[in-house]
Symmetry: D2
Subunit: 396 residues, 4 copies
């Protein structure tokens, strides 16, 4: 197993050296004051990344899926109605979780490749005069299709419908990489994990709860203990945890926030946008299309690339790993075999991205697609060169 | 923060160098075949540590608390009756979790320091002619009081009462350090974590499900998704995971099992017994008493030591950390302030234990207790010397 | 400082994860038997990499420069004549060292870009009827010019001249990456370091002494203590060291040899040849020339690329680092400003090489050279694709 | 191999976590500006540890032995007279090196256990009217015997004799742990390594050259290249190195200096004095004697403990490792078998020292010596308790 090549799955990401070392800690006593010196700045750092001053952040030894469960089980009760759209594998799974927890999900079906249908949400919410819908669920970035939805637009739709539902947003593959404005968009619960924009190993569910969401906790009747925000909050009040905390990952989270904030969030987003832009240039040069149906839906963290009919995208992923030792993402669910995915999030550089593009190109040619070697690379190179020149001009 | 002294909290334990490095991995593609080469041996290794050939093992990115939730939510339904005893903080918390999940818990109160009351359980189970009790819960090792209960005796009680309840056992602070016989004792769900006998950082809930428990899953109605064994099993069938797996910790678990099995489980248990024995010799030399009320209840992973009336045990823990940079465990719940705890589990040596005993001794004297410096150390030294001589004789 | 991009300096190389961890050791007692279990296999492993069964290997906490000093000071005496050529910075430096140690160096000047002139050496040696020349020095791979000389041909020249001089070879940037045959070529002293083909951090001088060289030690009068082979040999006889050994690096050396031998030396050489070939294809596609004047001199570990007259090659290196965070090698000595160098040795993959080529291309364009973006990458991609296909065919 | 116990050899020391991580670096380009950001602060830090403002510091990829060679070969010429005493294995070896390099050493023999004889030095120097003696050599701390000599007294002797000889001091096992005043004592060359007071892995020779010593370089005729200060100085002037620098260790050195200076040099020395004091209390409690013949010679970094006649001290060391997994130092040279050594330098705590003392006690009893278990530990505990109380009082 050669681990020297970068990976291009849409998370977990390549882990920066500094974060590898931050996570790899000897055991400390998590009931001693040392722990608070890790926990507190980690929570404060996440708030800044979420662009919130009013919300509370909670971090569980879990994953994004556990974050979803934290979100719904702390603010909802069995039988509650929620509104959601299914436009990819991850929105599908969250809906499935809601149903398994006894929620009544109004599912707005969407083509995979489309975003969250704000207008349709507005209609449905406006029609819900009795406010039976308790929560609106939205997946900011559909990792399966490389689609970033307009969360601000969803909030506007809710406002236009004057609907008081809580607003729960899955930001697992967006937060820390693309702009996320918890306060501006009045998101009530924001969910993410450690292994995407925070560039850490998997193992943390990271959730932000607005003051409104924190109030909803009192009446929520879905059973919960491990994911209960109340126990977590009680612990935090004493710089402690309700059970054994994942100290190393929390320390990593602290340092990850420092890294993101030191680079500057807007710079981090711009870097993701530039790197993603190069990948998109390459895809265009190959004459291929993204799964995302419109440019405004293009994700800056992952690109799902449609392969020609009759071509099995899974062969792409297998051949890349076997022949060149590079991992890309397979298609999931409805688009299995129809897309392969290039993850371009976290601690990535233009140079690393180029090696992924160059590899993809070799794989496509190896598998017989009519692609010209170097064509995608050249398009991305030009894009990155100009990006760099622009940075230079600004700095000057 | 000096991290060179060993820690003596009852978990997370001191982490061996080899496991630090096993956990600290670069990112691999968890959907590639590489992942199976980590997951499979990890699961097989845990089975051997659990002494089971029939059960299935599942590992969640979570903690022992998540393991408890996995145990109950996968085999029980709202309103189900369960039988449990409260004899320490951790049994208390598991009971509390059951109640929050809508279970009807028959709680047998016990003095903290006592074990699981097998005879009383037998009476209750025998009286439950209609088999309304669906599960018996037992905490193998009460970490709060340093009490190891006789799980075989609980099974015998269940058998004597001819009761078909499922048998759920919390082995968080016993498994991997003290003998645990999942098959012999017909344990239906065994729960543990990564950070105790497996000597890893926290972050994994490790659960074993017997074939009977796996059948109960079909009818269990407690809502669950993150902790749903069915999704996990479906993933494992494809060497995969239902969500992002904690690859580094799983790799650590694989190597931890290798380490335990290479040393030999019985040797691991004997080592824990010897090290614990030295600690108990020291406590006796100090003229102090354990919280555990009888020798057959003495835990080999943690000793809770009663302090004289009027003495605040929390001062012991604070002074040890502040003056000497050594972490011991505080008392929890009913025994807060009344006991301090010495954790002696995981990758510990006689030599490390002696440094803990020597530190405890200085702290006790510093705080004015009438202890003779060196007295506990000498008692432990003699015990360890004899232990070593016995090992030599056997080897000869 | 972003350390996620690969580096393309001609050593130290990118360090594989496994070797990072092998070197990063806690302190052990180097006078205990544990040390021999590291030292012995390390020495045996190096012998295999040197393709020798008769020589003795010695490893010093030093660098290749220290290896040169070890070579000359252990077999020569002040005033001894040695024969050498100056065809690059490193051969120049070794000559300089000889002169500073009072040796009488017959220097055969060569154009930088040329190899060791075997025919000229033969003439000089044949003319030395009285065998005043005590040693022939040869640099296997001139790291400054990317020139690999034919060491076998030098040995043939010595044989043809029937000259008994010792044969000292600098294999710092060849051994472990390109074929080196200590026994076949009857090399008397072979010198290398940890940070090139062995893929380790710098810090070790690694030298092989033939039986003839070991005899010469008795009469060599150059003063030496730190680099005295006799003290080292005395230590090794007891699995010990004459002073404090660099245990972590020695452990790394042991594992590095395991890695090289497991991959198979011929496979390692083939991999270097393929990766270098791709780089050379790219250079040709750019319409540029190597410093090495003939294809048979092309090094498989480093390519020195001539820039057009009037273009400062140092700007290339500076811009690559500043704009793209990638390190290439500058020109040294006579070719400073006239060449830049791409190191392609050690634990490198085709994919990593492509990222270096792609970066170099962007830099060349940024600096105004008439290069077409993607042209070099495409040439290398085609080369690597075919190389991979050939591997597949062989495996089938 | 259990690496969890602390080691008690007199260096290399236990390595703090922070330094393990500082050393374990990915490769950077040592010819890029990044390197200067490591090198410069490392050199400046060492100056502060040496308490010098006027000297220049040079760091070689080597060991203390290489530091000795650097010292003599840069300021002396073949045939030069030097004055030294032989009072242990390390002073012996430095003398031997001088002789092998053609120096004329006036050796003042001393009992092993004695210090450098300042008065006798004064007599010899005063008698040397023609100033044929070019250098005085002194070993600050004889690691073999646990003897710290009074370097200030040697300087006073030189001054009293009005002798202009250079003053070369081996501070390998003192610098960074015991007070060393390069400027006050007008030391001309100070030698140390990475693996003692700097708490790093072995691999660095660290030398300070006074302005006088730097002048002497111009006329020194001993051959040298690898250890030539002139090449090193030329490199440093450009933030570079004359050959491949050991970047990781240099980074470690930078951080090690930060750690020492943050703790405060005087606090570091006081800590060593306290920990050593506890060890000495234990030795006294055992009724045993140190090799150092007078209290003012007692080293704070290593204690050499005499064993009773007829008892083989090597058995102590072997049994400690085999039975308890703890490494102590053997006797060397004249005192082999007659002493064992407890190293107590570097990043050590009272608690770690107690585990060494407790282990030594078990070993002594195991081997039949009439020692009472706990007696040495109790003496050390009392000493450490009082030491801690004093720290508390000062802080209050």
């Amino acid at each position: 197993m050669n681990t020297q090549n970068p990976i291009f799955i849409p998370g977990p990401t390549n882990i920066p050296e500094v974060l590898r070392k931050a996570v790899d800690m000897p055991t400390i006593d998590h009931r001693s004051p040392i722990f608070g010196k890790i926990l507190k700045p980690a929570l404060e750092g996440v708030k800044k990344v979420l662009k919130t001053t009013q919300a509370e952040v909670f971090v569980f030894p879990s994953t994004g899926t556990g974050g979803w469960e934290t979100a719904i089980s702390n603010v909802l009760s069995p039988g509650d109605q929620v509104l959601a759209t299914r436009n990819g594998m991850f929105s599908h799974r969250w809906i499935d979780m809601c149903q398994r927890h006894g929620l009544d999900v109004i599912v707005v079906p969407q083509q995979w490749g489309e975003g969250v249908p704000a207008a349709r949400f507005e209609e449905i919410l406006a029609a819900d005069k009795q406010h039976r819908i308790k929560a609106v669920l939205a997946t900011h970035n559909e990792t399966a299709t490389g689609v970033r939805s307009d969360i601000g637009a969803v909030r506007e739709a809710m406002d236009a419908a004057r609907h008081p539902a809580l607003f729960l947003v899955d930001g697992v593959s967006s937060i820390g990489s693309m702009d996320f404005r918890m306060d501006d968009w009045r998101v009530d619960v924001a969910v993410t994990g450690s292994q995407k924009g925070f560039m850490l190993p998997p193992g943390l569910a990271i959730v932000g709860f607005s003051q409104r969401a924190l109030k909803a906790i009192q009446t929520a009747k879905l059973p919960r203990t491990f994911f209960d925000i109340r126990d977590m909050a009680k612990g935090y009040a004493n710089d402690a945890y309700p059970y054994t905390p994942p100290v190393g990952l929390l320390n990593g989270l602290k340092i990850a926030c420092d890294m993101l904030l030191e680079e500057g969030l807007e710079n981090v987003f711009a870097r993701h946008h530039r790197i993603a832009g190069g990948v998109r240039q390459a895809v265009a040069a190959w004459g291929m299309n993204l799964c995302a149906v419109r440019p405004d839906l293009h994700s800056d963290t992952v690109s799902a690339i449609r392969v020609p009919d009759g071509f099995d995208a899974n062969r792409f992923v297998a051949h890349a790993l076997n022949a060149y030792g590079v991992s890309f993402g397979t298609g999931l669910g409805d688009v299995v075999g129809k897309v392969f995915r290039i993850g371009h999030l976290g601690s990535l550089t233009d140079v690393m991205a180029l090696s992924g593009i160059a590899t993809a190109e070799m794989v496509l040619v190896d598998l017989g697609l009519p692609i010209r070697l170097g064509s995608g690379v050249a398009a991305a190179q030009e894009f990155y060169r100009q990006g760099h020149a622009a940075i230079q001009r600004e700095a000057a």
